[in-house]
């Protein structure tokens, strides 16, 4: 009984992947996203793809959502009131004083999520060490409440200075608001984040209050819709920091879902990497407008502990997925100085690339690939047939501007877009002390398999892996998401055996809280994990180091062993080490419960459709060549496809250049290597 349903809501399409435990098979569906009420699209996908019995027999519903993210992007959310420390009313607007665009003289930040009149200063003050410097003035809270009532505020955020060291004032202020009769939700900064830096923590708390009503309503509607459809299992949503948690928990901590969407691809890459046991991976998720990448070391993406969205910091665990505006729809142009540039502007889904024939006229990456034959005969997903006249026509202007032929311009566009993507992958890789040449590149998203071999060459990876259902891979990534709860607390202290004992006491109480939250039901095993943020005394930035602990979450290493681990990690990241003493900055507690294992589907060859050859540009031989065109489903496990070939499937197209071959792995993955590297 471990059948499960995964639904990923994207900007254009809502993807469903169903794993049927009986037959150990997966099924894929795509329906249009319904932006006004995204739960409808998700429910449509379920009713379209699954019978009532299948829904009723499913144990888990796994979900990746962009509702929180879109709420921030569109700035549609709750009317939030803020209680802040008197004298610090403008933290949101003063920020850290920097500019997002440093060479733009006229840059200004977006207006704050809470206008100044709803940011109420409260006389109170806690010092950095937790000592109360100025007791809370209850009158101020009551006066603020009256303003909030008069202004019809939906939710309230409370963020006082140094509350991570002593939360009593935040708790007292919340109680006063409740006594005064406030019934909306209240977000407390020390519960949202136990870490220091007031601008970042205040912003995160406000984001929590801002997206909460919409997220709660959305998850409520989706949950009851699924219940009506016969679903009786667990409802789970992906966290920005990886893993998943229940709908109930997500309604309580909605800020943890902001990156839910993009993270699914990274998590899926991690799971696949653990399954394949081929070493470390870099994920290349090429969509219509954006390129997302993450590095998978030892089967897991890296976690960061602060993210950023639309220029706002979010102080919560954050899977290190980097994104740039480069994808199949990215528009190419010649800039004022005469260089060919690609993106970040995108033709998006509407009108889409010129070749779609929906009114787009500007040349895109997809148009360029089409001109070069990389998309076969141009029958792509969703019944769209590309028009060669339109794609080559769109490139004429830039070609003549550069003195190029249309094909030369198209090749230029692909070279630039792959270089841009490769640079981002290089940055994320070498930053972590990993050599790209030791990696496999996992290519997915609608346009990933088309660019995979070009990216691998630019980056010098060992090869490319194209997963099954590559165009829906983010949704299938959800299927394996563990249940995760995590918390952090800042307490700056020297690394010593005594202080590790103190850390264990703090971790103990953190784990207790987490166990209460980890209530998804089902007899699933739980494991506890500990991380310590550490640095050399005197530094500010810290490294998070995984620390060995026993089943109860107690650190089992002594100070010397912890020091050794930190020093190794530090050297790997920065190539140097120091003689200084080491400090612990924050403790991180994680509870993880894997979902039951699922059987992998065996790949079998199915009936073969006949396709002709297509004249396609070979970047390998720098010339036009005849590429065979075939269906991906035509090759069973163990088969080897030799390039040059164009491999078609439902939602993406793989470009397999000459000199490359693709082995069909038993998992259904195409494992692509250059032939000389096999020798």
């Amino acid at each position: 009984m471990v059948s499960r349903i995964a639904v990923d809501v994207g900007g254009t399409f809502t993807d469903l992947v169903f794993y049927d435990d009986e037959s150990a098979t997966t099924r894929v569906t795509k329906v249009p996203t319904t932006p006004a009420n995204p739960e409808n699209g998700a429910l449509n996908a379920v009713s379209e793809a699954l019978s009532q019995e299948e829904v009723g027999a499913s144990e888990y519903f796994l979900h990746g959502t962009t509702v929180g993210l879109n709420s921030l992007l569109q700035r549609v959310g709750a009317k939030v009131g803020l209680l802040c420390t008197a004298g610090f009313r403008d933290i949101l607007e003063i920020r850290r004083g920097d500019r997002d665009e440093m060479y733009n003289l006229f840059w200004a930040p977006n207006p704050p999520l809470v206008p100044r009149r709803l940011r109420m200063p409260i006389l109170e003050r806690v010092r950095a060490d937790g000592v109360v410097h100025q007791p809370l003035q209850s009158e101020d809270v009551r006066a603020a409440h009256e303003v909030f009532v008069a202004e019809n505020v939906d939710t309230i955020a409370i963020a006082f200075l140094n509350s991570f060291a002593n939360p009593s004032h935040e708790i007292k202020a919340m109680n006063l608001l409740r006594e005064a009769g406030f019934e909306g939700s209240i977000s407390l900064s020390h519960q949202v984040s136990g870490e220091y830096r007031e601008y970042e923590r205040t912003t995160t708390t406000i984001i929590d209050a801002f997206v909460r009503p919409r997220m709660t309503r959305y998850l409520g509607e989706l949950g009851s819709g699924l219940k009506n459809a016969g679903f009786k299992g667990n409802l789970l949503v992906t966290r920005s920091g990886g893993g998943s948690f229940t709908f109930g928990e997500a309604s309580e901590r909605p800020f943890e879902t902001i990156m839910s969407g993009p993270v699914a691809g990274a998590e899926g890459t991690g799971e696949l990497a653990r399954l394949l046991s081929m070493g470390n991976f870099v994920a290349a998720d090429v969509g219509g407008t954006s390129f997302d990448t993450s590095l998978i070391v030892d089967g897991r993406p890296r976690l960061l502990y602060e993210g950023s969205v639309v220029g706002l910091p979010v102080q919560t665990p954050w899977v290190d997925v980097r994104s740039i505006g480069a994808g199949g729809g990215s528009i190419a142009y010649v800039d004022a100085g005469g260089l060919l540039r690609v993106g970040p502007q995108s033709a998006g889904a509407d009108p889409g690339p010129a070749a779609y024939g929906r009114g787009g006229v500007e040349p895109t990456v997809t148009d360029s690939a089409h001109v070069l034959g990389m998309l076969g005969d141009g029958q792509i997903a969703h019944g769209i047939a590309l028009d060669r006249n339109l794609s080559s026509g769109s490139l004429k202007a830039i070609a003549s501007n550069l003195g190029f032929s249309v094909e030369e311009a198209a090749r230029g566009v692909l070279k630039i877009v792959t270089a841009t993507m490769s640079n981002l992958m290089r940055e994320i890789t070498i930053e972590q002390g990993t050599d790209p040449r030791e990696l496999w590149l996992l290519a997915f998203g609608g346009a990933g398999p088309m660019l995979g071999t070009l990216l691998a060459k630019e980056l010098g990876t060992r090869g490319v892996v194209v997963p099954p259902h590559a165009g829906n891979f983010s949704a299938s990534g959800l299927l394996g998401a563990d249940l995760v709860q995590a918390a952090a607390r800042t307490r700056i202290m020297r690394l010593s055996d005594d202080n590790l004992l103190m850390a264990n006491d703090i971790l103990d109480s953190m784990f207790e809280d987490l166990e209460v939250r980890q209530n998804a039901g089902g007899a699933i095993s739980r494991s506890r994990h500990v991380g310590l943020d550490m640095r050399y005394a005197g530094q500010e930035h810290s490294l998070t180091v995984s620390i060995e602990c026993d089943a109860s979450g107690k650190i089992t290493w002594d100070a010397d062993e912890v020091r050794h681990e930190f020093t190794q990690d530090y050297e790997r990241a920065f190539s140097v080490t120091m003689e200084e003493a080491i400090e612990i900055v924050s403790m991180r507690a994680t509870v993880r419960s894997p979902l039951p294992k699922r059987e992998r589907e065996k790949v079998r060859a199915v009936s073969e459709r006949k396709h002709g050859n297509v004249r396609t540009w070979s970047f390998e031989s720098d010339d036009w060549r005849e590429f065979q065109v075939l269906d991906r489903s035509a090759a069973g496990a163990g088969a080897v496809i030799s390039g040059p070939a164009i491999i078609l499937e439902q939602t993406s197209t793989t470009y397999l250049d000459g000199g490359h071959s693709a082995l069909v792995h038993e998992t259904g993955c195409l494992v692509i290597t250059r032939e000389e590297s096999n020798a």
Binding site: M102, Y103, P115, A128, F164, D335, A336, L402, E580
Partner: protein
């Protein structure tokens, strides 16, 4: 007025014409890779640095140069350092005995203000990059602010020669063939009040330039030296074309901007100066030749920073919002008069070089506004409003030091109101979080908040100035480097001026000290509070044209008071 002793500085010109068929695709790819490499230097430095001035404030620049000292790429960091780095590399290499004296594995340290353009605390660490340990292909360099490098105080506004300002390390090899010079290192540690922090920051700078070396070599190896050179030339041409196109739109002519320093830090009198911007076709000359003689106090700006200020002002305006390379600088000529405060010579004191440099950026925009008021913003708070703190902790006896610039109001412009942020000369700079400050330093911030009415009124108003109150738990010392305390930031096109910068002490008994701007080693006793008031900016357009709804919103949100509205926007209150 240009006279025969005027000195003209131009960007490094192109060495050889690029082949006509240089490929615009590979050029774009190389340009991208170089910027990515410069970013990698920055990230490594920030993550490993010890002093908040580097990791939080980002008071540094990281850049990559070619063998001809032309800027290949720079990571977004301190703009005012941006244009000085070629001077740093050139001077350091010269001091070290020239290019022939460089060997693979060498790393140079240079702190001579007349080579770096900065005060001695701004230490340049430079790594010559060799391909295959043989061919010099360029340099990776970081100029970063150390918290202390000796000198008469950790920070000074009243020095009378460079020797009071800090220790000068002239192009010394801190690493020789990959080995650290331990004797030199001991010497450096002996000449700073905070050796641990400086040791940590040197380490971070070395890690940064090493990371940059690996990345630069990767790009060169990927394309081969010949192709790399071609692409670089084409990349420079591209940057040059962008800036030239901008200036072709500005009518030819000479435009004069006026500026003034409060004083020179030693004498009381004000120091007015003017900068002329001369547009001739697509070339722009920024002319400092009509500025006063070098001053007896530290507001002299060595040539590298004069050139840099001009480059910052022009490339921010005309660079299309992108990271500049050497090409962007080619249309810019800088004219100076040797012996003047914008082209002084050693040993003229120059500790506050950044303050006249920063003023000159505003003055250049003031000049350009006379040709095209819509092209530039009104004056900002016009200062870094910097405070540098130090003391000895009561309990442990450990010395501590910290320092930061603070945000000011940005000037309004034809596109809308100004916001509040760091001065454009420090555009990527951040100031510390109160909670980080309080976890480290013996103080409590009583207030970090907008000051209502501190903005310049106009059709568009400026950003607001900020009030910061630092309450001391222990005795501390501060040097305050604040400029524009007399001159309010000017409005543009009929806009009004905003609040000027200032500071004062409030003692434990509630009494106030005199208002001050530049002050060195001021004692802030335990129990007293330093109140810093940063400037607003200038407004744009007549206040009578401000939309009624905008005035109402400002009142509702408390950005302005009714009195301010009555004075400047009576039309909105009718």
């Amino acid at each position: 007025m240009p006279s025969k002793d005027v000195f003209i500085y131009r960007a490094a010109s192109q060495r050889e014409a690029p082949p006509a068929d240089t490929d615009p695709v590979t050029t774009e790819v190389v340009r991208h890779s170089l910027n990515s490499a410069a970013n990698h230097i920055k990230r490594t430095l920030v993550r490993t640095a010890f002093s908040p001035v580097i990791y939080e404030v980002l008071d540094f620049a990281s850049a990559i140069y070619d063998v001809h000292l032309r800027l290949l790429a720079q990571a977004p960091s301190l703009p005012l350092f941006m244009g000085t780095m070629n001077f740093c590399v050139e001077a350091a290499v010269k001091c070290a005995g020239g290019v022939d004296a460089l060997e693979p594995g060498d790393i140079l340290l240079h702190t001579d203000p007349y080579g770096t353009g900065s005060h001695p605390q701004d230490a340049a660490v430079i790594l010559p990059v060799f391909l295959n340990d043989e061919i010099l292909v360029g340099y990776t360099a970081i100029k970063g602010h150390w918290l202390d490098i000796g000198g008469k105080e950790p920070y000074s506004t009243d020095t009378v020669d460079v020797f009071q300002e800090g220790t000068i390390y002239p192009g010394l090899k801190i690493y020789k063939r990959g080995q650290r010079d331990e004797e030199l290192f001991r010497m450096i540690m002996s000449n700073t009040r905070v050796p641990k922090m400086v040791a940590g920051d040197i380490n971070a700078q070395v890690a940064g330039v090493l990371a940059g070396k690996r990345e630069l070599l990767r790009v060169v190896e990927r394309y081969g030296l010949e192709k790399f050179h071609e692409c670089v030339e084409a990349m420079f041409d591209h940057g040059e074309a962008i800036v030239r196109q901008y200036f072709e739109k500005i009518p030819d002519g000479r435009y004069v901007g006026q500026g003034e320093m409060d004083n020179n830090g030693v004498d009381e009198h004000r120091v007015p100066f003017e900068v002329t911007v001369e547009v001739n076709g697509s070339t722009v000359r920024v002319d400092y030749s009509n500025t006063p003689d070098a001053q007896p106090g530290p507001i002299n700006c060595p040539l590298p920073s004069t050139v840099s200020a001009s480059r910052v002002a022009i490339s921010m305006l005309a660079g299309g919002g992108e990271a500049p390379c050497e090409g962007h600088f080619r249309p810019i000529e800088v004219a100076t008069r040797p012996g003047s405060m914008f082209h002084p010579s050693s040993p003229s004191p120059c500790f506050l070089y950044g303050w006249p440099a920063l003023q000159s950026i505003e003055v250049i925009y003031n000049a350009i506004s006379k040709a095209m008021p819509e092209a530039v913003p009104a004056c900002s708070g016009g200062d870094l409003a910097a405070l540098v703190w130090w003391g000895v902790r009561e309990k442990t006896g450990e010395p501590w030091a910290d320092g930061s610039p603070h945000p000011v109001g940005a000037g309004a412009h034809i596109g809308g109101d100004g916001a509040t942020m760091m001065h454009a000369a420090e555009a990527a700079t951040r100031f510390s979080a109160t909670e980080i400050w309080e976890a480290k330093n013996p103080w409590l911030l009583e207030r970090v908040e907008f000051s209502p009415d501190s903005c310049g009124a106009g059709r568009y108003r400026s950003g607001l100035g900020v009030d910061l109150h630092f309450f001391m738990f222990e005795d501390a010392y501060v040097t305050s480097a604040i400029e524009r305390s007399f001159n309010q930031p000017w409005g543009l096109h009929g806009g009004k001026s905003g609040r000027a910068n200032s500071a004062r002490l409030r003692f434990a008994d509630g009494s106030y000290g005199e208002s001050f701007a530049k002050a060195t080693r001021l004692k802030v006793p335990k129990g007293s509070t330093l109140e810093l008031f940063t400037g607003g900016g200038g407004g744009y357009g007549p206040a009578a044209e401000r939309a009624v709804e905008a005035v109402e919103a400002d009142l509702r949100e408390g950005y302005i008071t009714e009195a301010h509205a009555r004075e400047h926007y009576p039309h909105a209150l009718e």
